[in-house]
């Protein structure tokens, strides 16, 4: 369903938050901050680790392109290249 204001949604979720988020730690390398900010805006970073290390360079390019084209991620081409390069280097197969 669309049109749920995020603030309203947050209010509806019980306040049982864990003390610390258990967000995945990605491997340190240039581009990591951008991956955390851009990819992590919509989904947990565990999607990246979970899908490793078997995706080749073309497949990582395809995944990044899918997030932009199919899922509407607002990532410009230069940032997309930084993200894809990081994923290929640290999580490629």
């Amino acid at each position: 369903m669309r049109g749920i204001a995020l603030s309203a949604m947050l209010a509806l979720i019980p306040a049982l938050a864990r003390a610390e988020e258990q967000e995945t730690r990605l491997k340190q390398a240039p581009g990591m901050d951008m991956v955390e900010a851009q990819c992590g805006a919509c989904h947990s970073l565990s999607y990246i680790v979970m899908n490793s290390p078997f995706l080749g360079p073309a497949q990582w390019d395809a995944e990044v392109a899918k997030m932009i084209k199919a899922f509407g991620a607002p990532i410009d081409p230069a940032d997309a290249k930084t993200i894809a390069d990081y994923l290929k280097q640290k999580y490629g197969g």
């Binding site: 369903m1 749920i4 949604m9 680790v49 979970m50 497949q59 995944e63």
Partner: protein, 413 residues
């Protein structure tokens, strides 16, 4: 402005206890090692094996967390040892991370689109006042066992536990649709649930069913699961139940049903959940969505799972031992389950457990007396229309329909 911190809190909001804390046992406990890390198939990707861990969502027992935003949690093998899966052991799968807690008192199910009587909206009481039906059925994610594909394909890397079987009670979808009166030229009905995307540009999760399936007598708008209200994580207060078909159609937190006269072309129908044509023995087809190359995934393929003993277990020679598990299919019913201890050269029929209906898990067991050494067990289910499991994986890009015959290795000492 949507901040990442805010989103993380939203996603984490309903998680009571995280990771291994949930299962902390006294130091020195023998169970500690086994319990704090789930058994994960060695076939899963290395990254999945490193990342997956037990975590306890509110109202659930510990499940294997693959991702927490959106929440994707599967059942460990030991939750699948019974033909009915308890609600607090049932897997959780979402596509999008915006998941509201739905208030049953204000929840409405809206019927819109090509209805003779115009738009109609009903609340939970009105839904419950319709004739109630109950069906025991397997709810299995289309991508269950994707993680076991060789070579691996991208997606949520599920092992065996993205499935469960429950008694679903609700109104027939047909009776709900009749409240607004379907027009004669309707070809599909489209479901929307209360969950939604984080970004406006992300396609909302909408799914359609062909009319013939929507009005089948077992297709329900369910409000009870195993005699209780649906858990939040499994679609409270109402979800679509499509016995025999993969869970992608079982819309959770359903809020809108739209009748359409043309095939629905949303992303989750047109581009996702598709299988190549001609590779699988489909009976139930979704013709209005079929292209020359592919077709929507529909019914569940016949399959089985050895739930005990777990792969790699050490057992004693000379003692009566039971190998047991479950079998299921797309609603034709399980005809037999066979066991092979010689890599498929010969097969012995296992004893079938209680028949809970053709859409349900069928439990099975086989007793034997092992002799010392390495022992392998494979299980193979066959349904009442003669379909059986494959020997080799049927490759397909999205990793669906993995019903390869699997082998469990035991160490007899």
């Amino acid at each position: 402005m949507i901040t990442r911190r805010g989103l993380l809190e939203a996603a984490a909001g309903a998680v009571a206890i995280g990771g291994s804390d949930a299962l902390a046992a006294p130091a020195g406990s023998v169970a500690l090692q086994e319990d704090t890390r789930p058994w994960l198939s060695p076939l899963l990707p290395e990254g999945t094996r490193a990342e997956a861990a037990f975590e306890t969502l509110t109202g659930k027992k510990p499940l294997i967390r693959l991702t927490d935003r959106p929440p994707n949690y599967e059942a460990p093998l030991n939750y699948l040892r019974t033909a009915i899966t308890p609600n607090d052991e049932f897997f959780v799968r979402y596509h999008l991370a915006g998941i509201p807690q739905v208030d049953a008192s204000t929840w409405k199910l809206s019927l819109s689109g090509e209805f003779a009587n115009g738009d109609v909206a009903i609340g939970l009481d009105a839904l419950r006042s319709l004739p109630a039906f109950e069906v025991t059925a397997v709810c299995q994610c289309a991508g269950n066992r994707r993680g076991l594909f060789q070579p691996h394909v991208p997606g949520v890397q599920w092992g065996d536990g993205a499935m469960g079987c429950a008694r679903w009670k609700g109104a027939r979808l047909k009776d709900v649709l009749d409240l607004a009166g379907l027009k004669k030229n309707v070809v599909e009905v489209v479901f929307d649930g209360a969950d939604g995307p984080i970004l406006d540009k992300t396609p909302d999760f909408l799914k359609s069913l062909p009319l013939w399936k929507a009005i089948e007598e077992t297709t329900l708008v369910a409000y009870e699961m195993n005699g209780e209200a649906l858990p939040h994580w499994n679609g409270f207060p109402a979800r679509i139940v499509v016995p025999g078909w993969t869970a992608t159609y079982w819309m959770k937190h359903v809020t809108t049903i739209t009748a359409v006269t043309k095939p629905f072309d949303g992303f989750w129908m047109k581009s996702a959940y598709r299988i190549p044509l001609g590779k699988f023995p489909l009976v139930a087809r979704f013709l209005s969505q079929e292209t020359d190359a592919n077709t929507p995934i529909t019914e569940i393929v016949v399959n089985s799972l050895i739930t005990s003993p777990v792969d790699g277990t050490r057992i004693k020679a000379g003692q009566r031992t039971m190998v047991s598990g479950i079998a299921w299919d797309g609603g034709y019913g399980i005809n037999r389950v066979e066991i092979s201890a010689d890599c498929g050269q010969s097969w012995t029929e296992a004893a079938l457990g209680e028949d809970l209906g053709k859409y349900a898990f069928r439990s099975w067991s086989h007793e034997f007396i092992p002799t010392r050494g390495k022992l392998s067990f494979a299980s193979r289910a066959t349904n009442r229309i003669g379909q059986t499991q494959t020997i080799e994986l049927v490759q397909n890009p999205a990793g669906y329909h993995n019903n390869v015959i699997r082998t469990v290795m035991l160490d007899v000492v």
